[in-house]
């Protein structure tokens, strides 16, 4: 099994686990309010943080699947060689965005919140941990984009 398909597998598993945990914490919030009158304070916070993780990691997964919303009207007008070149341009744009904003910008956000010692209100979790998923998903998207440029892909479908 090559590295890329192993990465896909890990990503899929993580998403399933994160999703389960998120549903669990919201359901626990409702239940705890009826069971203990005062709802647990951490459930809401945990669910919000899990959503950020699902959103960012899931975006990398969706990128791999080519399922982000877009239009491919122009690409369909080209013959295969031109089409492939256009797809490469599209992946290069995404690679630049993922590297610049998610990896560099997200990385600087993580180090900033780390240095400022920002902790979450209910769970006292370092915010840097929560935000670390931004550069991580940036790396994944860049990797997937580079893979698509080098090895070719079906491209982004609408």
């Amino acid at each position: 099994m090559n590295v890329m398909s192993m990465l896909d597998k890990i990503l899929r598993l993580s998403l399933a686990l994160l999703m389960t945990a998120m549903v669990g914490s919201v359901v626990w919030q409702v239940l705890s309010r009826y069971l203990f009158v005062v709802p647990a304070a951490w459930t809401e916070e945990l669910a919000r943080f899990l959503l950020i993780w699902i959103g960012m990691l899931g975006s990398a997964y969706a990128y791999r699947q080519g399922s982000h919303l877009g239009i491919d009207l122009l690409a369909n007008k080209f013959e295969p060689p031109g089409k492939q070149r256009l797809h490469s341009i599209v992946h290069i744009v995404c690679l630049l965005f993922a590297t610049g904003v998610l990896v560099v910008g997200g990385g600087s956000l993580v180090s900033m919140t780390w240095e400022l010692k920002q902790y979450s209100a209910a769970m006292a979790l370092p915010i840097a941990y929560v935000y670390s998923v931004i550069p991580a998903s940036g790396v994944l998207i860049s990797l997937y984009a580079a893979d698509a440029i080098v090895n070719g892909s079906k491209g982004q479908e609408s």
Partner: protein, 431 residues
């Protein structure tokens, strides 16, 4: 200057096929780089994205997506179709009405227009063809009827609008969706009735009362999901997000244990699929929030408002112009990005002219559902054509009267605020 860059870069990237979320993000960063240095620019955009996703209200979206995925099963569609047949199938051209009602019910439960098209259409299109309906007409009707379900709560696009508008209550939006959604269904039924008259369509079989009752019992558990969610929110038992959590638990029990439509082994795939769908929406929300922050920083909404008000300050004309613009946008752009991009730009103008944010949201979403059914872009169209084994070019013709009917419904919703506001007011959700 920055705004011009933003718009130009976005249009170029979007048209060459860069995913919308990335087009928005890349265009924002290009524009932002004109104002500040590289590091502050990328850090701010990353921070806005993260901050935008850090919201309890948004959590309702993955939960309703997951519950919808669990409920979007053929067997559940079948039960709703059987129920609709018992009550409305005996009219001339009854199957067309059955199709519309089933799509509305299934759309509400599954929250996905594409799922309605494939699940309800998968049964109804072949059946309508057997009954003598034109295949292209059947495909067109399924596509438009499925889009109606997006306005009927629980609906993710209404939650996305709630977030984009910065604070319209989700409960109020949910309740507000009912009458406009019914109006759209009614508009399509008028078209179907016209078709049935013109082609002298046969009546469906009358279902005996006992059988009708049995079918109702079979469909009740799926419909109960909506009752629990909306009832719970209105009764103040739980928030919209918590209702989403309850909906997941309920659908899990119903789909896996009671109906056995979903095998336990398929659950992991359902979870991953839901996470993927969620992430597509979240990434769009993240970059759109970064962009709308930039637009606000550049004072665009206020300038846009004064620009539009310079053109005309007649609300009737301006609402018409906004609708025409959005219909044109809807031809090329999916609903979620359109709501995220244009809410911050047009909402201030609409409010300035006396339209409530609630009313504007319903108008915006109804407008964009029509765009979902217009070629060349639109997954509903592709799915319904695939089911009916026809091409998009063929279904445009039978769709024309449906567009007209839906645009009539849109105009009514635009100019009669009571259609959107009376139910939320009755429940004390707005003043």
């Amino acid at each position: 200057m920055e705004v011009v860059i933003l718009i130009l870069v976005f249009i170029v990237l979007f048209s060459i096929g860069v995913p919308i979320a990335f087009s928005i993000g890349a265009a924002s960063i290009c524009a932002f780089l004109f104002a500040v240095d590289f590091m502050p620019a990328v850090t701010t955009v990353a921070q806005r994205m993260a901050g935008g996703l850090n919201s309890f209200a948004l959590l309702a979206i993955p939960l309703f997506i997951l519950s919808g995925q669990l409920m979007a099963q053929g067997g559940i569609a079948r039960r709703l179709i059987d129920l609709s047949k018992a009550f409305i199938g005996m009219f001339p051209g009854g199957l067309a009405f059955v199709n519309i009602i089933s799509c509305m019910l299934f759309g509400s439960i599954s929250g996905s227009a594409v799922a309605s098209t494939s699940a309800v259409g998968g049964f109804m299109i072949p059946e309508m063809k057997r009954d003598g309906f034109d295949g292209d007409f059947s495909a067109a009707l399924t596509a438009t009827a499925s889009s109606t379900g997006l306005v009927i709560p629980p609906s993710n696009i209404l939650i996305i609008y709630a977030v984009a508008s910065g604070g319209v209550s989700i409960a109020a939006l949910f309740v507000a969706g009912y009458l406009p959604g019914l109006l759209m269904g009614l508009a399509l039924m008028i078209v179907a009735a016209g078709y049935a008259r013109k082609h002298n369509m046969p009546r469906g079989a009358r279902v005996p009362l006992k059988e009708a009752a049995r079918r109702a019992m079979a469909a009740v558990p799926s419909l109960l999901l909506v009752v629990i969610v909306i009832g719970g929110i209105l009764g103040g038992v739980f928030t919209a997000t918590e209702a989403g959590g309850i909906a997941v638990v309920y659908s899990l029990i119903l789909a896996v244990v009671v109906y056995r439509e979903v095998k336990p082994s398929e659950l992991v795939d359902v979870l991953i699929k839901s996470a993927e769908t969620t992430a597509i929406v979240m990434f769009l929300i993240g970059t759109s929030i970064a962009m709308s922050w930039l637009l606000a920083y550049e004072n665009v909404p206020a300038e846009m408002a004064s620009l539009l008000l310079d053109v005309t300050d007649n609300p009737l004309v301006l609402f018409l112009l906004i609708n025409l613009f959005l219909l044109a946008i809807g031809i090329f752009m999916d609903m979620t990005p359109a709501v995220l991009i244009f809410t911050p730009i047009f909402l201030p103008v609409a409010v300035e002219l006396g339209m409530s944010p609630l009313h504007f949201g319903i108008m915006l979403i109804l407008n964009l559902t029509i765009g979902l059914c217009t070629p060349p872009v639109g997954s509903i169209l592709f799915v319904s054509c695939a089911v009916a084994k026809t091409s998009i070019g063929n279904i445009v013709r039978p769709m024309v009267p449906m567009y007209v009917a839906l645009i009539m419904a849109l105009l009514l919703v635009t100019y009669v605020p009571e259609i959107s506001e009376s139910l939320p007011r009755y429940f004390g959700l707005i003043d």
